[in-house]
Symmetry: D3
Subunit: 220 residues, 6 copies
């Protein structure tokens, strides 16, 4: 079986996060996928602001251009889906954003989902994405961690489940690799990691011979 | 690599359609998946009405109960997603409806999608599903074939693209196996087959260790 | 004046609840209506899950078939509106669900309504119905009773009014017969009993010569 | 059986329309209801503009004040629901608008409804009402008659059914008394007369001991 | 530079509020605008109910008629936008409501806004306006002052910002003149005064040669 | 009277369009505003794609940084509102997008608006903006010109008014300077030029001492 080759673009420049994403993706990849995660040259160390999105543009485009021939699909591995419309437009190959993939998958698994966010800063931006994808009706809350570390994130998830009625949780950062299983075991509801959800989608699109429509919205 | 085992329930009793679905699924399955499609005992030969949905209930539940130990996931292979809430509720394993999986995947590939329906009868029921999944904003139209055969379906797709602005097409019946590639080649936009989309989702959920939330909505 | 004859189908098999519904309906019926409530053979004793909906299908269809000639209209008397689309489809006579009738009537009496639910289990299912009927904008909350008995239900209603801003309350179960008046007297806002609201609607539809459209959605 | 007494306020000053409404209402009233229709003093002969709404205010309030002791409920019999929020606010008795009652009832009888309007002038105002009541998702179209007389109205209804997918029709004027039966017989889908729908609702609310919530929105 | 002449209609009869509005408007007017605020003859001293809206109709129409030749635009200076559709209809000159202008401008300045309301009475009416203008998605809350005076209003704004996530505040009464600056300085988010927002809009419309469309909705 | 100084950023590099925007803005500016339009260095000659948006980022940021001290507000003068979230984030001064300003102003002048677009390419992108701003309910259509020149644009506007029910028109490109008056005179409905609408908003925000909220969404 030939492996599907998936390029994972980490839109920030933090090599530690890139390694964590790569390890997480490699675990899912098994024998079916070849995955390779690259940091974005010139990008911020952490993507939080629209300025960070903008700074990542040249590097993300460069990574796509340099690698498009060697890969079957591309994943944008930041839960703000930075520059996703742009990437869908310039690409012939499937491009999948981890926020879009995970939040839409979440709606198939339960009544409503919450996003567990790294901090307060990103709350309105998460809601802006939820609205962009038309998911307001299915979103119970965006719950920020109120401290550092896995415990604070699990506590945020717990409050989403117990206080906001979330039936499914979505990890709101590409850098929470591995937390999904731990949180799922603790809280007893499905917990979705965006990178994994994007890999599912990207692999499937490639195997099914599907890609981004080039009719008008994402026409080059 | 151990194969993921996916049970495909055809909610009607038409063996020819069951074979067509199986062949279609087997092509996608490759070495990764073991897929097995079963007709629903006691069901109608074709699912068009809510009565057909109801008639399929006992057989679908029976198929699930008899097979749940041997399979990793279940697909409901009718584009009306009949009894999908029920199946999500009784199952511990992932359950995926082909309409939900394909329409949500369609929203990731272009500005808006249209459903190509077998005939006029199902138009409002398709819209009812579109609304159930909160996709009205992304749905350009439901276009019925105005005659028999692939040409009428492709013509319906062509009108969706040219007159309604659809950038992605969704085949509105599990029995259109193989038409996706032909229509895609003719019309130049992505065409999604529901069974394939459900296989993508089901395989991914199993590999990721995810399933239906049992918190409240789908609690047994 | 000839009486309008209304069949009330209790989609569960609990004879005590059937008697309570019948007594409640009879009080409203006066000299204008002949009402008769039947338990659904083969159904669960209480309808809480989609499985319970499914188990009620054969009995509900049987009750309709056996009685359609003797009645002018049919009411589905469970606040989850189980199998309501199916019943609308198979019927020539008007079919009214108590949840649909009561929640839509509630929107005519005040700014927003809350549903008082028997327990936590049904909260997401109530919201799913609210969304099916397009009433999210008018729904203040779904408030579950946190204990047994009328007092817990009235307390849930009180919190809906005081904390959630509900101006109208809807009793979220067919079995709360008589509680509407007691809760209304206590809380000072209109409290709607679903069976009564469905009787209003069904009687009116019959007298006006109206029934379910058989164009496409509910075509037999 | 004591008759429920319902005051029907025709918000215009056209006595011919008042008589037509009264005859229509009386046919529905039978032995159960005492109905009395009054023209609004000082109102326009036909209600088309917001100015017409405003001109009707003093007369409508006067009619309510003079008659509230003798009646159990009040109907505002113009399909623009003029001053309905005001009337709900000043009243202790149930107040029902014919547009609200008929359009909400329409959603219970089929997939979508269209309003048959007397002319082009009122189209956006009808849509504004549809949005006020949150019914956009269920509205297929507002179809104006393109000429005078019943035939033009029936033709508008026919186009709504055949071209717009309407499964239910709502007569968009209180003055179309009797047309519902004729149009229903011709087109084969339910046709709702607003005055009848309002009578159904008003009678039911009175018999059930329900009225407008006085909590905040309609507090005097 | 010729001054733009703007008539500000205070839909109540409270001369003190009229003076406060005038002073507030005059501060904004500078050398560019001539502003003149008039109390509405026959109106209530405070506009809280739909009855108050109705009472203001004759006086508002009279003020418009008497002054339309001398002014370039008209502002309705009550945050319930009473009779705004009517005024848009009768006018050839631009008519701007302070609630519509301020809430729509608020959506341009941050993720979501809250309305600071004078008291609990108006909460559902504010939400009804928010829905009329299609702004539900952008509205964080309507926060009533829980006491008298500026401090109570600022406290309501503070809770909107800290507890409801509001990024922008809208003063929910024309009579809060001057509070915007004080609240903005205290809370650190933009605070919009409706009269100022309406002046911005009205001045601009006049200078740009724009007015209300007379096509159908607001055709005389 | 001190002039308000407004920097207009044309996100493309077409000097002819920059001059046209400047002349258009200067006509509106009168003695009240000092307006200065700059082409974006490094940008595409015409902004149509998300790639064009991205290419404009460095130049737009540079223009802002170089000029922020000399101006009171900034306008992004392309009807796709490219990088508007970014500009709102980096700015302390008010930033206004011509698409957001014009479409929101349009909703105040009539029942529904249509956007007249330069061509088919931008239709889905316009709808994506309409959805971002929550204006779907108020948008009648996006009508592309089917040829070159003013006549084709006016014809597109005519069809929007006559066939789609638009009551207000919005020019869908910053480069249509002056067409608003011509189209308005021809079609008899208000026609909004985005640059003018943004000037109205920007001038007003500055005079009122308002700017972008820096709470979370647009926090630097």
């Amino acid at each position: 079986m030939e492996k599907i080759k998936i390029l994972i673009i980490n839109p920030n420049s933090d090599e530690a996060m890139t390694r964590a994403i790569q390890e997480n993706a490699a675990r899912y990849a098994g024998e079916r996928l070849f995955v390779h995660t690259l940091s974005t040259p010139g990008a911020s160390p952490f993507v939080a602001t629209y300025r960070d999105h903008a700074l990542a543009v040249p590097g993300m485009v460069q990574l796509y251009r340099e690698n498009e021939d060697q890969y079957d699909a591309v994943i944008v591995a930041c839960h703000a889906d930075p520059n996703l419309d742009l990437m869908k437009e310039i690409a012939e190959k499937p491009v999948v954003g981890i926020s879009e993939a995970s939040m839409k998958m979440a709606t198939m698994l339960g009544h409503s989902f919450s996003v567990v966010a790294p901090g307060e800063r990103g709350i309105p931006n998460k809601w802006a994405l939820i609205d962009k994808y038309g998911l307001r009706r299915f979103a119970a809350s965006v719950r920020p961690a109120l401290g550092e570390g896995d415990d604070a994130l699990i506590e945020a998830g717990r409050r989403a489940v117990e206080e906001d009625g979330a039936e499914v949780l979505v990890l709101g950062c590409a850098g929470f690799a591995g937390l999904d299983k731990k949180m799922q075991a603790t809280l007893g509801v499905p917990v979705l990691d965006g990178v994994i959800c994007a890999l599912i989608t990207a692999e499937g699109l490639v195997r099914a011979g599907l890609s981004i429509s080039k009719k008008l919205r994402y026409k080059k």
